[in-house]
């Protein structure tokens, strides 16, 4: 009946230590166990876990449990807990670090795959030339079918455009016509804008796998492209 006690002859909270080293202001120890996070978190109760319990396990050095729980993929790292936490503890950031501690092979496959694809070009993995083709094809169709939009533009790699626009990969792959309303809006507003033919994807799944180097790589690539084009503004559509 009686569960075995957790023996803390010496407390070795290695995971906690590791996170603290990586993120000096993470404030795990500050936790008052007030439960505010758990009260506000939609993921409370999933995988028999909640943000407070998660922190508590870290503090008490229950590293096995921390490293093995899939709750880290139910937590969306949305930081709503941190938003109101009296101590400002960033559970989202902690979850991010722990996701990164998982060996790649033990991570959710699709998530890791999205990031891996993103590192090549975009999260769906369609070739850049397909993107360019789809954009031009859809544009052409609009110009032909809707006479009032015969001047509609969808520039790609237009150097010196004032605005750079990224594009979530979902539309060019699944529902290309969904790109049009935004083009029209930009057109009406008289905006000088451009897509890029590479690193054009607005999504970035490398934020979620927990490997900062992947995330950094993808962002760096995007930034390089925009600066190369010489745009003053980088518009994110979401």
């Amino acid at each position: 009946m009686e569960k075995e006690s957790v023996d803390l002859k010496t407390l070795r909270a290695r995971v906690k230590k590791q996170i603290e080293d990586a993120v000096p202001d993470v404030r795990i120890d500050y936790c008052l166990t007030c439960g505010l996070c758990a009260s506000g978190c939609p993921a409370t109760g999933l995988e028999d876990m909640d943000p407070r319990k998660f922190l508590r396990l870290l503090v008490l050095g229950q590293d096995e449990k921390i490293l093995n729980t899939n709750w880290i993929y139910s937590c969306t790292m949305c930081q709503r807990c941190k938003y109101a936490c009296p101590m400002g503890i960033d559970v989202g950031r902690i979850v991010y670090e722990i996701r990164g501690m998982r060996p790649k092979e033990k991570r959710p496959k699709n998530l890791q795959r999205s990031c891996d694809l993103q590192k090549k070009s975009n999260s769906t993995g369609i070739p850049n030339e397909d993107f360019v083709w789809v954009v031009n094809d859809v544009l052409e169709e609009v110009r032909q079918n809707e006479p009032q939009w015969k001047d509609l533009q969808a520039p790609i790699d237009k150097k010196g455009a004032k605005y750079y626009l990224n594009q979530n990969a979902k539309e060019p792959t699944v529902e290309p016509e969904e790109m049009v309303p935004l083009w029209k809006i930009l057109h009406v507003a008289g905006i000088d804008w451009t897509y890029s033919s590479k690193w054009w994807d607005g999504a970035n799944y490398c934020l979620f796998t927990g490997d900062p180097e992947d995330w950094e790589y993808t962002v760096r690539k995007q930034a390089e492209v925009v600066d190369e084009l010489g745009c003053r503004y980088y518009i994110n559509t979401e």
Binding site: P42, Y73, C78, P181, A189, P212, T218, V219, N236
Partner: protein, 172 residues
């Protein structure tokens, strides 16, 4: 995701010359400036709108201001009386449950359980249309709407903005 780039630039101190902005901010700015003229009169039937505040854009990104901008645009597009706000809202809004890679990670049951709060919240507004300015949110809100039997239509903002555009040139 807005935050991925915003925070990525910040955290990794990536040098860049451009300014990183959200389309929502620009919509609002252009409407205020008169660059975009919108007319809500198309919405004769009084379709009710509400919206999701994407965590990555609002709480983690630009804060309450961009969320207020979002509402400003929706009200301009659909008529101020046709906007029903959620609670909680702005920076304190719930995550839809699709973020953080949850849509890709599997764990569908957990993701939907997570989304129940969001579903109840949106359903409580009685809105016909839920504007989701983020693709993750869009997919998740679409999914939970269907899974829990919601009645609303989940869409991006641009469709409605396009609908309400006043095309002066076109008239000429």
């Amino acid at each position: 995701m807005f935050y991925a780039t915003l925070e990525g630039l910040r955290r990794f101190k990536i040098p860049h010359k451009f300014e990183f902005v959200s389309i929502i901010t620009l919509y609002a700015q252009w409407i205020r400036e008169g660059r975009l003229k919108v007319d809500p009169s198309w919405n004769k039937d009084g379709l009710k709108f509400t919206c999701q505040d994407p965590c990555k854009l609002v709480r983690q990104g630009l804060g309450d201001q961009v969320a207020e901008d979002l509402r400003f645009v929706i009200k301009a597009v659909a008529g101020p009386e046709n906007f029903v706000d959620t609670w909680p809202r702005l920076s304190n809004n719930y995550c839809c449950g699709g973020g953080g890679g949850a849509l890709q990670a599997g764990f569908v049951e957990n993701r939907r359980k997570y989304g129940k709060l969001k579903f109840d919240q949106l359903a409580a507004t009685g809105a016909d249309v839920v504007i989701t300015p983020c693709h993750n949110c869009h997919s998740q809100v679409l999914d939970i709407c269907e899974f829990y039997g919601g009645k609303w239509k989940t869409t991006h903002l641009w469709n409605w903005l396009e609908k309400a555009l006043v095309l002066e040139d076109k008239a000429k």
